[in-house]
Amino acid sequence: MSQVVFDPAKVMDVDYTKRTEYHAELEAMRVSRRLLKEVAFTPSLPERGYNGRTLHVDVGTLAVTEKPVTPQMKDLFVGGRGFGLWHLWNAVTPRTRWNDPENEIVISPGPVCGITQYAGTGKSLVVTLSPETEIPIDSNVGGYFGPLLKFSGFDALELQGKSEKELILFIDGQKGILRLEEAPVGPVDSHVLAEVLTALYAENDADRVNVSVVSSGAAAGHSLIGMLNFSWFDTRRGCIRLKQAGRGGIGTVFRDKGIKALVCRGPRVRGDLNRPADLETLAKVGIKYHREIRENDPHQCMMRRNGTAHIVEIMDAYDLLPTHNFQYGSHPDTHRIASTYWQQRCTQVTADGCWYGCSMACAKGADGLVLKTGPYKGHTVTVDGPEYENAAGLGSNCGVFDPDWLLELNFYCDTYGICTITWGTLCAFVMECYQRGILNEERTGGLKMTWGNAEADLEMMHQLARGEGFGRIAGQGVHRMKKIFAERGWGDPRLLDDIGMENKGLEYSQYMSKESLAQQGGYALTNKGPQHDEAWLIFMDMVNKQIPTFEDKAEALYYFPLFRTWFGLAGFCKLPWNDVVPADNARQPEAHKVPEHVQNYVDLFTATTGWKITKEELLVQSARVYNFQRVFNIRMGKGLREHDRAPYRSMGPVTREEYESRAERYDRQIVEEMGLDPSGMSLEEKMAAHRRWREERYRKLTDAVYLRRGWTPNGVPTLERLKELGLDALPEVVDVVRQHL
């Protein structure tokens, strides 16, 4: 593939300051809010990344308490996802379900989160019991809420209980006041709500950058796939922007708790609010990295121009772009949604980035979109993205190659508060069911769910937002749709199992793993279900060919889930780790780990916390939390080998058409990998041979990965492994494991 060349002259001329304004909604919200409770607190700044206290709010009783962050919490869990999992563990029992009041939503920024000198340092981690998987889900998210929460005085926010009223929680870190307010009327959808609340809670226009809103949307309340939007105020555009904690239905829990929004108003951000141990090192490492972006990004990934959508055409060229529910890996129309288009469509001559100092700046904004459907038809809006996952999930996987429709789908997912990745995969499943006659117009209530029918796709989403029709069934997700269809006698349950791209109840994200054994494991041998947060191995496996042997792949499934977990403990974004690399990276040993950047992270963590770690200790920090999460899953009734089973569509060709689309490759594998002669075999026999070979290969991979991770063949962390990690200090963790040994 040749490098895409950016031509500034082709960037569309769109006024990025113009969009529909919501004055009436602002007034409605202003007059209808009612104070329920006000509590004073002492604002504080962190010391070496930690405040030493968390904030617990019971939205049912309105009780507000502060809890200390103990040395053991820091030692065992570091922060971020670690703190979230630990608080959740203490809040729930094995019998707790997602919609029980004791379930918590925990937002924790991590100790490094909030530094401004390095790219991708504004991430907070959100943890809850997932409505989709019924085990803990964690989702990392940008936007300003996490850093502003920390600079107001808290290392984590725990939300427990259920409110009968529509509730707004306002944390004013400038004045030391926390307010619980009822907001019975006014908008729910995020693009309006976050804009309105930012204006309401800022003291003046200049203060808007100090306000961040967490909200969801209308569709989250009628589905299991709700997500959260975290806002920040974009001063140049003059509007709020949104980043998403997408996976696993956290927005559904949020709405079930009766929460309309969280608002944090923090102090004005400066470069030293985290009060790091060694600001000079942060500055030096940060400037070195900014220079690397300046010099290398234009001829590497072009993240500053394209965002993550830069890999759309690469995935297509390598037959890895999910197309028509992961049946195929490419499509002739991909060029219409490739990076060459998005770099023209997105506004370029402005600063992007979902936290200060992010020189990678992948949060591209597409301005001036006039909506064609739904309650905001005719409105001019700014859409974030589309990121790669959205282009592939809402686009190629559903056969949608019209970029304006793709943007509209992206917009409505965001504002309605549902996960774009999940929606893409579940809609692709619905469309394949429609293709195969499992669904039809009668069963969908009139929706013609043919490939590429974006209007029907959007109508299904609008139905969900209204809590009506087939959209409401779709909003249950693939796992439950399979059951519903089977119970109604729609389709062969085995076929539904094969083509329904979910594991543990979570929908797959947007990579074709059929030919990548490493990514098959990267999806299904995960703690929280198939996403690319834990083990995004497809690129190094299939494009860069850096893990060719079986042993390499098993080792990668040990190392990378741990390495990548660490970003969510400390408060980092993963993208700056390998979406740009030093010019000499390819010549370094273990180039796929990007060793210079690993050292950057070690240095940044040490310079912030004063806690001297090595790259090996970094992995141990992760391993504690990763294994703790595995035990948590087991405690909640999942987390064993049977739950790491992958749908066959993720491993090989389910249908004749899929086999025939890659017949030459598959026939060759019958000769070279299985030692059989395909010439005398029927297509069904060839498919059966592939299935045996591929399932056996996945079984062997599972064995090897479990062994490397220090788990039993049933996927349970051994007592030795727990002891090695110091988790034996938690008797309740050991008790869970003992029951499964």
Partner: protein, 140 residues
Amino acid sequence: MKQLRIDVGRCDYGRHCEHECEHACAEKVFKLKDPAMAALHIRELPDGKGVAALCDQCGDCVVVCPADALRRNKPGVILLDKKLCVGCYMCVGFCEKDVFERNPEWLEPYKCISCGICVKVCPRAALEIVDVPEPAPRII
């Protein structure tokens, strides 16, 4: 816009001067003792030539600043609003001339403000402030 320029035919890169330009910039403008911390850099090279690094007010730093803390004033000179600066140093890392400066003692970085003090003290009259058209913001 007001832009600092150097006449490379006149400047001899410190062979017969005391780097008065850097001293004056560091001491009088930024109150720093070390001339290496000036907002312009004049260096003699071993091959007998030299190199000058000057801010030309190109505006790249304005485009990359995530806090909107860098703006042009009426004469077109880019100034940092310290009240808005978040200390991310993207302006430092993205400056192709490496003349967006940082003092480890300060949180905010600093840069040439085209004040002309260096022009006044140059014994060889190699520096001047010129008035040139403002460039369009560059996509970087």
